[in-house]
């Protein structure tokens, strides 16, 4: 009975609150990440030399430095330059930039898979480079990049748990507070694990729906 009251009065409200914070972190971060990733992926292939180099540098930094360190820099480092971000904004910024770096690699791979002949055909019809990228290459590349990008979104859902390190108390943060008060680490983190599993499962269902919606003859997968 005591256990039940503890769950009802403390665990449930705290975790629900944390769950919403997590969602608020994940949704914008995954969208910004995808947008940044697509843009950077395009620039890394079709940009001018300096732009390409800058985009490569971005990926090297944001893929190479541990995410926690990046979050610390945004939250604890920027104040040295008199820029003060709230924990939430710092977390979304950190996740979006890190996620974008990974997405750009999937997008880049997909862009490289589009055959040169189609680009020649577009050019021979009088397409400008930008028109060609947006109406011929990207619509195909997006379809090919989707499985990889989906992977990154799922991963983002889990690494959003790092936000509590910069005092943005989301699901994991709430769990940590509860657990250190009650010392019921196993129970509480099992519940938290289930919550993340729920989010990633929903995300993978949504992603596979999107993949199905975009499927075209020639882009389907074949059972062998």
């Amino acid at each position: 009975m005591e256990e039940w009251l503890y769950i009802q009065n403390e665990v449930y409200p705290a975790l629900t609150k944390g769950f919403w914070v997590s969602l608020q972190l994940i949704l914008p971060s995954s969208i910004f990440g995808l947008v940044i990733g697509t843009m950077v992926g395009v620039l890394r292939i079709y940009g001018s030399r300096p732009v390409m180099a800058a985009a490569d540098l971005y990926v090297t930094l944001f893929r190479g430095i541990p995410l926690v360190v990046q979050l610390f820099i945004w939250y604890f480092g920027l104040p040295y330059f008199s820029i003060y971000l709230s924990p939430f904004v710092a977390a979304v910024l950190g996740f979006s930039l890190c996620s974008g770096a990974y997405h750009s690699e999937y997008v880049r791979g997909a862009l490289l898979s589009i055959k040169r002949g189609q680009m020649l055909a577009a050019q021979s019809l009088g397409f400008s480079k930008v028109q060609m990228i947006f109406s011929i290459i990207l619509p195909q590349a997006v379809r090919r990049a989707l499985p990889g990008c989906g992977n990154e979104v799922i991963y983002l859902i889990k690494y959003s748990s790092l936000a509590y390190m910069i005092t943005c108390i989301e699901l994991t943060g709430q769990g940590k507070i509860l657990a250190s008060n009650s010392f019921k680490y196993t129970e509480i983190f099992l519940i938290i694990g289930a919550c993340y599993l729920l989010m990633t499962s929903v995300a993978s269902i949504v992603l596979s729906r999107v993949e199905n919606r975009l499927r075209l003859p020639g882009f389907e997968h074949h059972r062998i």
């Binding site: 055959k115 002949g117 189609q118 055909a121 577009a122 021979s124 019809l125 619509p139 195909q140 075209l216």
Partner: protein
Amino acid sequence: MSTPILKIENVSKRYGKKDVLQEVSLTVNKGDLKILIGPSGAGKSTLLQCINFLVKPDEGRIWLDGQEVHYAHKHDLYAYRQKVGMIFQDFNLFDHLNALENVRIGMVKVRGMGKKEADKRAVMELERVGLKEHMQKYPAQLSGGQKQRVSIARALAMDPRVMLLDEPTSALDPELIGEVHSVIRDLGQSGMTMIMATHQIGFASSLASEIIFMESGRILEKGTPEKIFCHAENARTREFCSKITELYGETR
């Protein structure tokens, strides 16, 4: 004499130390069908790609309808390319668009036509190449011959002044070649100006206004089909023609 539709003067292209094209000149008048023949590596494809600047020539000048093309100006280049249709050996249809959309996209994106108008025109062009009932199919669902006909319709929809055809039937199996040839023949009869690289000399000689024999990046000889296939002056031309006749059948 009227101005030629297309004039090419001293076009050269080098890849490293290799001369792929050496001072090639060509004058094309309205309604001409020029056929480029020659062994692989002769520069036929490079010449066609230089004509619409998919490959930038190192030297040389090109005029369309008496106006020199300044390809360094992007605007001029895009406008010029609209007027020069290109057909590729491996079709190069846009894989994510169905036949109708493949034909329509150039009109909508490049010429800025409304969707409805472009749709009507696209249907008309697909009808012209005999593919009206396949217009909802994607490239992956079409045969090689059908794909090539879609690509011809796509080029025609831009109202080109000249068409460049780079071995349009080389990737097709023998049974499908005929359907593409008949479309090209109809085009020729309707007065379309064309430059075509091909090994199908039977077809070529029945249609061509001039045959151009190329080797090692140069034009070695040109003349009427009769002259090139029966009374060629150059020994290399004769040798090539006899070999290719053996392979691809009679010239008539």
